[in-house]
Amino acid sequence: MTSSPSAEPRSADGRPASFPIGRSCPFAPPDAYAAMREEAPLTKVAIPGGKEAWLVTRHADVRTALASPAASSDARHPAFPALGDGEQAVAADLRPFIRMDPPDHTRVRRMLVGEFTVKRVRAMRPAIEEICAEQVDHLLSRPAPADLVGDYANRVSTTVICRLLGVPTADLEFFRRVTTITGGRSSTAEQVGAALADLFALLDRLIDDKAADPQDDLISRLVTGPLARGEITRSSLLSQIGITLNAGHETSRNMIPLAALTLLRHPDQLDLLRADPGLWPAAVDELLRLLSVADVIPLRVATEDIELDGATIPAGDGFIALLAAADHDPRAFADPGELDITRSERHHVAFGYGVHQCVGQNLGRLELEVALRTLFDRVPTLRPAVPVEELPLRSASAIFGLEEVPVRW
């Protein structure tokens, strides 16, 4: 998933501009989105692999398109608008449920969604508070400048998701090493392939371990439930655990440092939170909207014509519903570029929309809230150690983020 530095909506010769487009500022969508959104409901772009796809950029259209039963997520469709080398082949082969359609998708999602109900997630708060406190201790034990990504956010997100799934503590360091490689800018395709093979070997072994000795965790429940009853194959179960692990880890790892930096750049908003911690849940949703790091995750194919407001996605074409463009649509949000934790509009699509809306969104919200609160409560003098312009962007990743964020206190 490479990123083009181009910010031009169209190339000079009139051919579609290439996509994806990189961010010029980590705290805002790519500059070109605003012009596309104003000009037309749909923009045709050239994507890797010599294909073309439509970009949907307006909030109402993104919701309409993603809620349509004609929006297929099946990566086996030739027009599926994959953005990275090998992404389509891997998704078509592994069939993670984010790249499935109903009724297959419904069946798998129903196996997982009970793990992430509002009630179940609320019960995880004490454990997440303990994890964040331990990881702040770790951060503060490092010589300054420390890295808010490697020394805090990545450790929080890997610990939370591994505990939920039931990955033993002994395997945590291995898992962190694998995710550093699979998400790393400098990793080669071979290194990523080898790391993924290692990860799947670990998960495969865990399935046997959990079958023999079930614990109070997600993998145990899937192994003793749907797998034992023959409702899912072992290879599909591995894919579903893999995508849950990856999606749950990468998003929080990227959001926590970006959100912390965003608040540091808006001391007035941080003061509001310090005066009234009851504002934290609203602040988390506003940060999710503003940063919309899963911008290019909703890749779809229209299996029938999809009618938008003033345009039609033709049957058979691939399209990408840009979440960051929707979340910065002035038709939906007043002053969309501003961080306003007191804003009244709550209908952001940072977690997507339609039947694929993030299954772990309530855990994601809680994790972000506790990670940020713990950080700002314990480290009130936290500040970036380098100018924001010098922070390396994690542009070769499906989920936007920063490679590292040096901080002092």
């Binding site: 129903r110 969604v113 509002v118 209908h347 809306q357 309530n362």
Partner: protein
């Protein structure tokens, strides 16, 4: 269908478990009206929604990603 910002009276809420994808938005923003079954799907706690909870219901309907919720003026 009732649009946000229209009217001020009581409403009738509807929830379709078979359509629900268990995102949990309704239980998060309107916990007095909606809960979730153990399998994550929506559980309607209160079909007759009083005027003071009208905005909560309309927000839940608007945020629901699957179209499983509805709000109607009482007959």
């Amino acid at each position: 269908m009732v649009s946000p910002g229209s009217g001020a009276g009581a409403l009738r809420a509807r929830a379709e478990t078979g359509v629900c994808v268990g995102a949990g938005q309704c239980a998060r923003v309107a916990p007095a009206l909606f809960d979730q079954h153990d399998d994550g799907t929506v559980r309607l706690l209160r079909a007759d929604v009083p005027a003071e909870a009208r905005d909560d219901l309309l927000l839940a309907v608007d945020l629901c990603p699957s179209g499983a919720l509805g709000a109607e003026e009482p007959a």
